[in-house]
C-alpha cells in the first residue's frame, strides 16, 4: 500500500519505445493529462506509428497529473521533458506550478508544446511554430482576443474554446496563409485531441512531428486525415446504431426497438438520465458507462445517456431531458464526477441549480476514482483522494448533488476505466428507488421515520439538536395524511399519544421494561437477510447478542401506522465499555443495529427512510472517510433505500458527513430564534441597583455601590470582576473610582444579559413569529458586512454620535461607565428600530405573512422619515438620517423575507415525491442569511476557498488578543498553544480558526490564480514582531473529512517554520522540533508533526460518550482515550494515511502553555454539546507537563460583534448563567415537555464534562443548579412528571459530580438527592 502517497501507479507502465527502431528517425513525446482515458489512446497511437511508419518512430512517456506529486516521478518527468520534441498537456488545473517548473526551461528547445485547456500559466507554454500564447497582450493574435474575453470564469473559458474550434476554420480562411498556418496547426491539434480516438491521436502526433520536428515529409501513407469526430454533444447508447442529436429520435428508438429487446415495458419503466463525458466515448474508454447502463436496464429501468465535450453539462440536460417542456427522466445520474457546470476549472453553481430545479428530479453525482487507481481506493482507509473529494464531491454538492458513490476506477496498468460491480449495482438500484418515488402513488409508498436515542435511554428517545422531534413528526404525519399516504386507522390524535405509542407508556412505563416492539426478527431471518452479519461477530459475538434483543430474537423498536413506520435507531452499543471507548477505531455496528436497517430495507421494503433531526449514528459507523466501498458499514446498512434527513441548518459539517457516508439528501431545519438571555434573580437586582446609581451617583453613590458590590458577590461575580473586599466601604473612594467599579460590574452584567439564547425547541414547518423574526433581525443588523459594503447598525449609531464603535467597546470593556451605558443604549435603539421595521409587515396574529417594503414611504410622510428613524430618535440618536439606514434596511427586508419563508415540510413532501431539493449553504443564519429559508439540501463550502482574507484578518485580531492577555498574565509569550479545529466553525467563519493557527506560527496563506488557497509563505520575524509560537492542532474527525487539504496546508506551514534558520527564542516551533528530533531520533521535518486527528473513519475522543454514560473509571481513562484516539498525525509528505503518532502527540502536548478553543455561535456553546469538552486537552496537558502546571485555557468568543478572549472558566460561568441557571432558558425548555427536561439534564451533564476534562467549573454552578432543580420541590415534580428517565439522569449527575469530587455540598443536599434517586428509580422500575 502506497507508503502514504495517494497514487502509486507507475508512469513507467506507460512508456512506449519502438521495438525495432532500425535507422528510423525518432521523435520523443511527453504528455501530462488529468484524464486517464487518454492514456490508452496515446499508447495505441504510438504503437501504431511504430508499427506502420517506415522513416519515423516515436518514443513516448506519459504522466497522469496526480503522479507528479511523487518526488521521484517528478524528477523522472523533468528528465523526460529535457530531451522531448513534443510536449502535450491537458486540463492542468492542479499542480500547474510543477508542470511549468519542468517544461518552461525546455520550451525553447522543444519543437512543439501543445497545452489544451488548463490554468493560464500552463496555457502560456503553448508553442506551435510562430503560434504562442505567451505574447498575449501584444500581437493581434486570434487567441489573444479569445483569452482576453474569456477570463476563466463560469464555463465561458471551456465553451469559448470549443466554439472557437468550430468556427476557426472559417476564420482562418480569411487570414494570410503563412500567418495562419501555425494557429491552424494548434486548432487542428485541439480538434484531433477532442476527437480522442487512437486514429485521431496518431494523426495529431504525426502532423506535429512532420511539420515541426522533422520539417519535411517523411511520413508513410496518407496521415493528415481530417479529424474523425462524433458530434460535440448527443445521446449515446452502446447498443444504438448511432449517436442521436434529438431526444425524439432517441426515445423512438428506445421505446420501439430497444425496450422490447431488453424486456422492459416502456410505459412503466423508470427513465434514468445519465450524463457522460465525451472523452470517454471517443476514446472508447466506456466500459464503466456500459456497465451502469446494463445494470439499470437489467434492473428494469430505461436509460437516457447524454454526453458533451464541453464542461457545461447543463446544456445537454436542457437539450435532451425535456420534451414539450416536461422532464422525461425520473432521476439523473452525473457520471462525470464534476460539478454540472464548469468541470475542474471554474464552476457556475447558480446556472447548474437553475437547470436542475427546472428538471426537478433527484440528482446523483457518482464519482469515477481518477486520482488514484482502483486498488488504491479499495485499500485506502481514507477512501477517495482528497483532491478529488474537493473537486468531485464538495463542488457537486453545491449543485445539490447527492450520493457520491465511487462507481468506477482507473486500472493501474492500462489507465482504462473499470467499473466496480457492486458499486454499479448499488448506484443503479438507488437510482431506480429514487425514480419509484415519482412513479408510485403516495398511498402505496412506505416510509420509515427514524428517531434517535442519545445516550441510549428511554428518557432520550427522539433526541435531536433544537428540535421538538415528536411534535415535528406529528406535523409531518398530518401533512402526509393530507397528501394521501396510508397512515392506518390508529394514528394518535395528539403528540402525547404519539410519544406514548413509541415509548409504550412513558410514565410507569415504568411497568414495561422496553420500548414498543414493532418487529421481532428471528436469528435465522436476520442471518438470511443480512449478508454481512458474520462480519459483526468479531466485535459482538454471534447474534442475537446482548442489545436490542429478548435473548431469542432481534427487536426492532418503534410503531407502525399504516405504511409509515416510526422506529428508534439503536445505539452504538459500546457507550459503557471502557475498552471499546479506547479503541482507536470504532467498533462495527452490533446485530441489533444491523437488524434495524435490514428490517427497513428487506422486511418493510421502505421506499424511503427519513432520519429525523441532528443526528444519529448511521453515518458515523466505521468505513472509509469518503467514497464508501461495499465493505463500509454506512453503505451496508442503508443499502438501496433513499435517505432523507432533517438536519439543523447550523450544522453543515456533520450534515455533510451524513450526505457523503450515508447518502442522505438533507433537509435543513431552523434552529430556534435567539433572544437575549436577560437577567434574573440576584443579577437582575444588580442591574436595577446600577440603574438607580446613574441618577443618584453623586448624592447616595457610595451606599448604592456598597449594595452593588454585596449583591454582585452573592451572584459570584467576584470570580469575574475585581471587587473591593466585603467589609470595604466605597465611601472611601472617589467618584471616578466608584464609577469604574460600577462600570466593570455593569459590563459583566450586560455581557450576560445580551448573550444570545435559543428559546425552546423548533417544530418543523412552523415559521417564526414576528417576535422571533425581530430577534433574528436584531442580530443580523448588528453585524458589519464589508463584503456587501453594509455597515451594521451599531457602527452607524456610533458614528452619528461622533464615535467609533470599536473605541466604545474597548472603553466599555475597561469599565468606563459612560461607554457601557452608551453601548447599552445602542443595543436598545437597534431593537427599537428593527421592531419598527417589522411592525408594518406583522399581522394581527403576530406573524409575518407578507413582507412590506421597509423604506418605501421613506421621508415622504410629513417629514417624519421612516418608522425606524423615529424609533432611533426616541432612543436619543437624533442625528441619524434615513439615507444612512437605506442600505442596511434594504438588506434586512431581504432577510425578513428569508426568515419567514419556510419550506421544511414542503421539501419533505417534494423529496418523497422524487423531486429535487434545492441546495443551500448551511451555517449561522445571522452571519449568512442565505442559510434561510430552511428546507434546503445543505452543503458546506468549497473547501479550497478557505481561509478567506476576511477570516485571516479576524484571526489575527483574536490571536493578538490572546497573546496580549497571556503576556499580561504570565509576563512572557507562551511557547506552545493547543488548538482544536472544528468543521462547522470553519465553515461558518470561512476558516478563522484555521487562519489563527497559521498566524500563530507566522505563516501567510496565499491563493492561486483560481482563488484556491493552497500556498503558504513565512512572515518574516521583523514583520511578525514576536516569536513564532508553536501549536498542537487537534482536528475533529469531521474537520478531517471535510478539510484534509487544509490539514495539509497547516502541516506544511509547521514544517516550513521548523526548518527556518532563526534564533530559537524567536521560533518556538523550531526549538521544540529540534528537541523532539533528538528525542525520537528523526529529522526536524518529521519532528515538526503538529496536526492530529482520529484514525480514518473514526470520530471523537469518545470522552463525551463516556461522560454521558457515566461508566468511566477516572480521569486517567478519559485522558488515555483522548491521546490514543486523537493521536493520529497528518503528514504532508505522506498525505495518504494518518499515522498513529500518540507518542509525538503527547510529546508536543507536554510543551503546551495554553489551550485554546473558538466559540462561533451562541446556540452551540460549551455546554450545549459534548464536542467541546470531548476534545479539550487542558487536563491532559496538565498531567503530561513535567512541572505538573495546569495550562491557561482560553476561549475566543466571536458570537458577537465585539469579539472576546475569555478564560475557559469565565466562559463556562457565562454559559451556566445564561442557560442552565437562567429561568428564561429552563422555563422555555420545559414548555417542550419531555424533550425539554432532557435538554436541561444534558446541559448539566455537559457542565460536568468540563469538570472532568478541564477543571473549569466553579462549585457555585452545581450549588445553584441544585437549588433550582432539586431543592425546589415544585420544580422537582415538574421534571419528574414530564420525563422521569431524564430526571433520574439529572439526579445521578449531581451525585456523580459530588462523588467524583467536582462539587462540595452539604450532607442535607446529598441526602435529598440519594432519597430522590431511590424514589425515582423505584417508580421507573415499576416497583
Amino acid at each position: 500500500m502506497g507508503g502514504g502517497l495517494f497514487t502509486q501507479s507507475n508512469p513507467e507502465d506507460r512508456r512506449v519505445v519502438p521495438d525495432e527502431p532500425g535507422d528510423r528517425q525518432i521523435f520523443k513525446v511527453v504528455y501530462v493529462v488529468l484524464e486517464s482515458q487518454y492514456q490508452s489512446s496515446l499508447s495505441t497511437a504510438c504503437k501504431r506509428i511504430n508499427a506502420g511508419q517506415e522513416k519515423v518512430a516515436v518514443e513516448c512517456s506519459g504522466y497522469i497529473l496526480e503522479e507528479l506529486r511523487d518526488p521521484a516521478n517528478f524528477e523522472q518527468f523533468k528528465k523526460d521533458v529535457a530531451d522531448a520534441n513534443i510536449f502535450i498537456g491537458s486540463l492542468i488545473f492542479e499542480l500547474a506550478d510543477k508542470v511549468v517548473e519542468a517544461v518552461e526551461p525546455y520550451r525553447e528547445t522543444m519543437d512543439a508544446v501543445c497545452v489544451f485547456p488548463s490554468m493560464p500559466a500552463v496555457m502560456r507554454l503553448n508553442k506551435i511554430g510562430s503560434f504562442t500564447m505567451a505574447s498575449m497582450g501584444q500581437s493581434k493574435n486570434v487567441m489573444l482576443d479569445f483569452m482576453k474575453k474569456n477570463k476563466p470564469s463560469g464555463t465561458s473559458f471551456q465553451d469559448g474554446m470549443l466554439k472557437l474550434v468550430r468556427t476557426l476554420p472559417k476564420v482562418l480562411k480569411f487570414l494570410p496563409g503563412d500567418k495562419a498556418k501555425d494557429a491552424r496547426s494548434f486548432m487542428m491539434s485541439l480538434q484531433y485531441w477532442l476527437g480522442g480516438s487512437p486514429e485521431n491521436i496518431e494523426a495529431l502526433l504525426l502532423n506535429l512531428a512532420s511539420t515541426y520536428v522533422f520539417e519535411s515529409d517523411l511520413l508513410t501513407g496518407e496521415v493528415v486525415e481530417p479529424p474523425t469526430v462524433i458530434p460535440d454533444q448527443g445521446i449515446w447508447h452502446p447498443v444504438a446504431p448511432r449517436v442521436f442529436e434529438t431526444n425524439e429520435e432517441y426515445i423512438q428508438w428506445l421505446r420501439n426497438e430497444h425496450a422490447p429487446t431488453i424486456g422492459v415495458d416502456p410505459n412503466k419503466a423508470p427513465v434514468i438520465g445519465v450524463v457522460l463525458q465525451k472523452s470517454h466515448i471517443n476514446t472508447k474508454d466506456d466500459a464503466h458507462y456500459v456497465a451502469l447502463i446494463m445494470e439499470i436496464e437489467a434492473n428494469g429501468g430505461l436509460v437516457l445517456p447524454i454526453y458533451t465535450g464541453s464542461l457545461d453539462f447543463s446544456k445537454p440536460i436542457e437539450d435532451y431531458f425535456f420534451l414539450n417542456g416536461r422532464s422525461v427522466v425520473d432521476t439523473t445520474i452525473n457520471l462525470t464526477g464534476f460539478a454540472l457546470v464548469g468541470g475542474p476549472a471554474t464552476q457556475d453553481h447558480p446556472k447548474a441549480i437553475a437547470t436542475l430545479k427546472k428538471l426537478n428530479r433527484p440528482y446523483l453525482c457518482a464519482v469515477p476514482a481518477t486520482f488514484q487507481t482502483f486498488e488504491e481506493w479499495k485499500d485506502s482507509e481514507l477512501g477517495l483522494h482528497p483532491v478529488q473529494v474537493a473537486l468531485q464531491v464538495a463542488l457537486p454538492e453545491l449543485d445539490g448533488a447527492i450520493e457520491p458513490i465511487i462507481f468506477a476506477g482507473r486500472d493501474g496498468v492500462t489507465g482504462r476505466s473499470i467499473p466496480q460491480s457492486d458499486r454499479i449495482e448499488t448506484l443503479a438500484k438507488r437510482a431506480i428507488k429514487w425514480s419509484n418515488l415519482s412513479a408510485k402513488k403516495n398511498a402505496d409508498k412506505k416510509v420509515a421515520i427514524t428517531v434517535f436515542s442519545f445516550p441510549p435511554d428511554k428518557g432520550n428517545v427522539g433526541t435531536a439538536a433544537y428540535l421538538n422531534v415528536f411534535g415535528s413528526i406529528f406535523e409531518a404525519l398530518k401533512t402526509m395524511k393530507a397528501e394521501g399516504y396510508d397512515l392506518g386507522a390508529e394514528l394518535p390524535t395528539d403528540v402525547e399519544g404519539l410519544v406514548d405509542a413509541v415509548l409504550h407508556d412513558k410514565e410507569a412505563s415504568m411497568a414495561s421494561p422496553t420500548l414498543n416492539v414493532a418487529y421481532s426478527m428471528s436469528v435465522a431471518e436476520y442471518k438470511e437477510l443480512t449478508p454481512y452479519a458474520e462480519d459483526l461477530e468479531e466485535n459482538w459475538g454471534p447474534p442475537p447478542g446482548q442489545l436490542n434483543t429478548d435473548g431469542q430474537n432481534l427487536l426492532v423498536y418503534g410503531v407502525r401506522f399504516g405504511n409509515v413506520f416510526i422506529g428508534v435507531q439503536p445505539s452504538f452499543g459500546y457507550e459503557g465499555d471502557p475498552m471499546r471507548l479506547l479503541y482507536a477505531k470504532s467498533a462495527s455496528p452490533h446485530h441489533g443495529f444491523a437488524a434495524y436497517y435490514t428490517y427497513i430495507e428487506k422486511v418493510l421494503e421502505a421506499d424511503a427512510v427519513l432520519h429525523f433531526g441532528t443526528h444519529g449514528s448511521l453515518e458515523f459507523m466505521p468505513g472509509k472517510q469518503v467514497g464508501m466501498s461495499g465493505g463500509c458499514y454506512p453503505d451496508r446498512l442503508i443499502q438501496s433505500t433513499p435517505n432523507l434527513y432533517y438536519y439543523a441548518a447550523n450544522n453543515p459539517s456533520e450534515a455533510t458527513i451524513a450526505k457523503r457516508r450515508s447518502y442522505a439528501n438533507t433537509i435543513s431545519y431552523l434552529t430556534p430564534p435567539a433572544e437575549n438571555a436577560g437577567l434574573y434573580k440576584g443579577l437582575k437586582e444588580v442591574g436595577e441597583l446600577i440603574s438607580s446609581y446613574q441618577g443618584l451617583r453623586e448624592s447616595r453613590g457610595a451606599s448604592i455601590v456598597n449594595s452593588i458590590v454585596a449583591t454582585a458577590r452573592t451572584c459570584n461575580l467576584d470570580k469575574d470582576v475585581d471587587l473591593p473586599s466585603e467589609d470595604f466601604d466605597t465611601a472611601e473612594l472617589t467618584l471616578d473610582e466608584r464609577d469604574i467599579i460600577v462600570g466593570k460590574v455593569y459590563s459583566k452584567i450586560m455581557e450576560i444579559e445580551s448573550r444570545l439564547l435559543p428559546c425552546g425547541l423548533h417544530t418543523v414547518g412552523v415559521p417564526p413569529t414576528a417576535e422571533e423574526a425581530i430577534a433574528t433581525l436584531v442580530n443580523i443588523a448588528s453585524i458589519d458586512r464589508p463584503e456587501d459594503e453594509i455597515d451594521g447598525l451599531p457602527r452607524i449609531l456610533a458614528r452619528s454620535v461622533g464615535r467609533d464603535i470599536e473605541d466604545i467597546y474597548r472603553s466599555a470593556n475597561a469599565g468606563n461607565l459612560d461607554d457601557n451605558l452608551l453601548s447599552e443604549n445602542i443595543k436598545e435603539a437597534i431593537r427599537a428600530a428593527v421592531r419598527a421595521s417589522v411592525e408594518r409587515s406583522t399581522d394581527a396574529a403576530g406573524r409575518v405573512t407578507e413582507v412590506n417594503p421597509m423604506m418605501a414611504s421613506l421621508g415622504a410622510v410629513l417629514g417624519g422619515g421612516s418608522p425606524m428613524l423615529s424609533a432611533l430618535k426616541k432612543q436619543g440618536f437624533d442625528k441619524v438620517q434615513d439615507p444612512d439606514l437605506e442600505k442596511l434596511f434594504g438588506y434586512l427586508e431581504f432577510c425578513l423575507k428569508q426568515v419567514v419563508a419556510d419550506n421544511e415540510m414542503g421539501a419533505l413532501i417534494e423529496g418523497l415525491n422524487g423531486e429535487y431539493t434545492l441546495p443551500g449553504p448551511g451555517g449561522d443564519p445571522i452571519r449568512n442569511p442565505l442559510v434561510l429559508p430552511t428546507g434546503k439540501n445543505m452543503h458546506a463550502l468549497d473547501p479550497q476557498a478557505i481561509p478567506t482574507i476576511a477570516a485571516c484578518d479576524c484571526a489575527k485580531v483574536m490571536v493578538d488578543r490572546l497573546l496580549e492577555r497571556q503576556v499580561a498574565e504570565e509576563g512572557e509569550y507562551p511557547e506552545s498553544i493547543a488548538f482544536v479545529l472544528w468543521g462547522t466553525d470553519n465553515i461558518k467563519t470561512y476558516g478563522e480558526s484555521l487562519a489563527q493557527v497559521l498566524w500563530m506560527v507566522g505563516v501567510r496563506p496565499l491563493p492561486d490564480s483560481l482563488g484556491r488557497v493552497n500556498q503558504i509563505e513565512a512572515i518574516p520575524l521583523e514583520e511578525l514582531g514576536r516569536p513564532r509560537v508553536d501549536v498542537v492542532v487537534t482536528c475533529s474527525g469531521v474537520f478531517r473529512d471535510l478539510f484534509i487539504n487544509q490539514m495539509n496546508l497547516l502541516d506544511r506551514a509547521v514544517k516550513l517554520v521548523a526548518e527556518l534558520d532563526e534564533p530559537l527564542d524567536q521560533n518556538f516551533v523550531r526549538k521544540h522540533a529540534l528537541e523532539q528530533a533528538e528525542e525520537f531520533g528523526v529529522s526536524v521535518r518529521d519532528a515538526a508533526t503538529r496536526v492530529f486527528s482520529n484514525a480514518a473513519g473514526s470520530y471523537s475522543a469518545n470522552v463525551g460518550l463516556a461522560i454521558e454514560n457515566g461508566g468511566w473509571e477516572g480521569e486517567q481513562q478519559l485522558q488515555e482515550q483522548f491521546t490514543s484516539r486523537k493521536g493520529f498525525a497528518f503528514n504532508a509528505d505522506r498525505p495518504g494515511i494518518l499515522d498513529d503518532k500518540a507518542d509525538m502527540f503527547k510529546s508536543s502536548l507536554k510543551k503546551v502553555d495554553v489551550t485554546f478553543q473558538n466559540l462561533d455561535s451562541s446556540e452551540i456553546s460549551l455546554t450545549d454539546v459534548s464536542h467541546y469538552f470531548d476534545s479539550d486537552p487542558t487536563k491532559v496537558v496538565g498531567s503530561l507537563r513535567t512541572d505538573g502546571k495546569k495550562p491557561s485555557s482560553f476561549v475566543a468568543d466571536t458570537t458577537t460583534a465585539n469579539g472576546q478572549v475569555r478564560t475557559l472558566s469565565e466562559t463556562v460561568r457565562l454559559d451556566a448563567r445564561t442557560k442552565l441557571l437562567n429561568p428564561k432558558f429552563y422555563e422555555g425548555m420545559l414548555k417542550s415537555g419531555y424533550e425539554g427536561t432532557r435538554e436541561i439534564t444534558k446541559r448539566l451533564r455537559n457542565t460536568m464534562g468540563w469538570s472532568a476534562t478541564a477543571g473549569a467549573v466553579d462549585n457555585f454552578v452545581y450549588e445553584d443548579a441544585n437549588d433550582v432543580f432539586i431543592a425546589d420541590e415544585e420544580m422537582q415534580k415538574r421534571l419528574l412528571e414530564t420525563n422521569p428517565n431524564a430526571f433520574r439522569d439529572m439526579v445521578t449527575t449531581f451525585l456523580e459530580a459530588n462523588g467524583r469530587g467536582y462539587w462540595e455540598t452539604s450532607e442535607e443536599n446529598l441526602d435529598r438527592l440519594r432519597q430522590l434517586y431511590a424514589e425515582v428509580d423505584d417508580k421507573i422500575e415499576g416497583l
Binding site: 487512437p198 456500459v290 456497465a291 482502483f374 496498468v413 492500462t414 473499470i418 460491480s421
Partner: protein, 202 residues
C-alpha cells in the same frame, strides 16, 4: 473489428489483433497441456451454420488459451452483427444466443476437459450451497481471484495473463472466461441461459 470484449474480469480492455478471430494454427509452438480424449467426438451442431471446427481442434490439441479466445469470439459472432461491430455481447443479446451452438461449445469443453471446464460447471458451482448464487464467492471458488482478493488479469501478452490454461493446474470451472469488464450483467445473463439446464449437462 476487435475483440475488445474478450477480456476478463477486472483485467483490461485491449484491442486484440484481428488475427485472433482466425482459425488456430494447429501446429502451435505453445506448450500444450494434454486434453482428455473422449471415446466419441462430440457432435458439432449449429442453428446458424456456425463453424465449430476451430474450437474443436484447439481443444483437442489441448490449447485451452486459444480455445478460450475462440469461445469468447464465437459468442460475439453468435450474438449478431451489431455485437461484432460493437466488439462485445450486450447482456440483453444473451437469451437469443442459439441454443444448439452453445450446447456444442459446452459439449466440446466438457469432453476435452474431462468435465472440468465449461459454463455448466460454473453454473453448478454458482448454485452450490456454499456459493449460494453469489458471484463474488464463485470467483473465489473457480480461482479467478488471487490470494490478495483481487481478480486475476487477462492480458493479451501471454506472459502477463494470470489465468491458468493447464488442465491439471486449473481449478474446477476455471475456464472458459467471461468478461466482467463491463460489469456482471453479461455473465449473469449467460449463466441464466436455459441451455445449461439440459439433461446432457447435468
Amino acid at each position: 473489428m476487435t475483440t475488445a470484449a474478450a477480456l476478463v474480469t477486472l483485467g483490461l480492455a485491449f484491442t486484440a489483433p484481428a488475427s485472433r478471430l482466425a482459425p488456430p494454427r494447429v501446429s502451435s509452438a505453445r506448450m500444450m497441456c494434454a486434453a482428455v480424449m473422449p471415446e466419441t467426438p462430440p457432435a458439432l451442431e449449429s442453428d446458424c451454420g456456425f463453424d465449430h471446427v476451430p474450437l474443436s481442434i484447439a481443444l483437442q490439441s489441448g490449447d485451452f488459451l486459444e480455445a478460450d479466445q475462440i469461445t469468447r469470439d464465437a459468442l460475439i459472432k453468435l450474438a449478431g452483427d451489431s455485437a461484432v461491430s460493437r466488439g462485445y455481447v450486450y447482456f440483453a443479446e444473451v437469451p437469443n444466443l442459439p441454443e444448439a451452438d452453445l450446447a456444442t461449445i459446452e459439449r466440446l469443453w466438457l469432453a476435452y476437459s474431462g468435465g472440468k471446464f465449461g459454463y455448466s460447471v460454473q453454473v453448478k458451482a454458482l448454485q452450490s450451497k456454499k456459493v449460494n448464487n453469489n458471484l463474488e464467492k464463485l470467483f473465489d471458488k473457480i480461482g479467478w481471484r488471487n490470494e490478495k482478493g483481487q481478480l486475476l488479469r487477462w492480458l493479451p501478452e501471454k506472459a502477463n495473463n494470470e489465468f491458468i490454461y493447464e488442465l491439471d493446474a486449473a481449478p474446477e470451472g476455471h475456464l472458459p472466461l467471461t468478461n466482467t469488464l463491463r460489469g456482471q450483467q453479461l455473465i449473469t445473463a449467460l449463466f441464466k441461459h436455459p441451455v445449461w439446464a439440459r439433461d446432457e449437462f447435468q
